[in-house]
Symmetry: C2
């Protein structure tokens, strides 16, 4: 998988939230994708479940920004970022796995209570 | 999985490299573990293969330091860090998956050429 493509998808993912643009999310996911957000919770399986999850997530109005390099390896990209919703900041690491068509086939979000700060 | 345990293992992993202490690596891995470093390369499967890999890696003398929070989710911990070998710096994200005994059963390291800087 081409690193420039994967980094581009990560950057457009930030923009999808910051501009509340669901069309970016719609274009990036494979039809049979799986989303674990956070890892350890029940996964969202398949396109429709994933889109419903993101419609809710984007409606909360979080702003996202990378706070470290995107790390590309094999068909995956891992990246650290901050999500801010009101005065709540969450430090997250996402891992995107890509299929041969360059669509995200598996997304895992790593974050928990220790990664939240208020104010 | 207890977050404090997982964070402790991550911190001791940094120390294993910085103090060239293989006993830390020996204690943290499950006998049937898998290591992908970097993701996309042939995995190291099983305890002996993994120990041989780390003996070589630690002998290179890299110093490791976290450059962001450890993100714990479910039975996993994801963390961003820097590895410095001579004047080469590599930005890496590792993901540790833990088994019920608190041992690392799967390790994935995300890094590539874009994450290396010299000088």
């Amino acid at each position: 998988m081409d690193n420039a493509h994967m980094i581009g998808v990560v950057e457009s993912y930030m923009r999808a939230f910051n501009e509340q643009d669901m069309s970016i999310i719609q274009a990036m996911y494979a039809s049979d994708a799986i989303v674990e957000d956070p890892v350890g919770s029940d996964p969202y399986v398949g396109y429709d479940a994933i889109m419903a999850f993101y419609e809710g997530a984007i409606a909360n109005g979080p702003s996202l920004s990378l706070n470290g390099q995107v790390r590309c390896a094999g068909n995956s990209a891992a990246f650290p970022f901050q999500a801010k919703v009101g005065d709540l900041t969450i430090n997250i690491i996402d891992v995107f796995e890509f299929n041969d068509e360059g669509k995200v086939s598996h997304m895992r979000a790593y974050w928990g209570p220790d990664n939240m700060t208020q104010g």
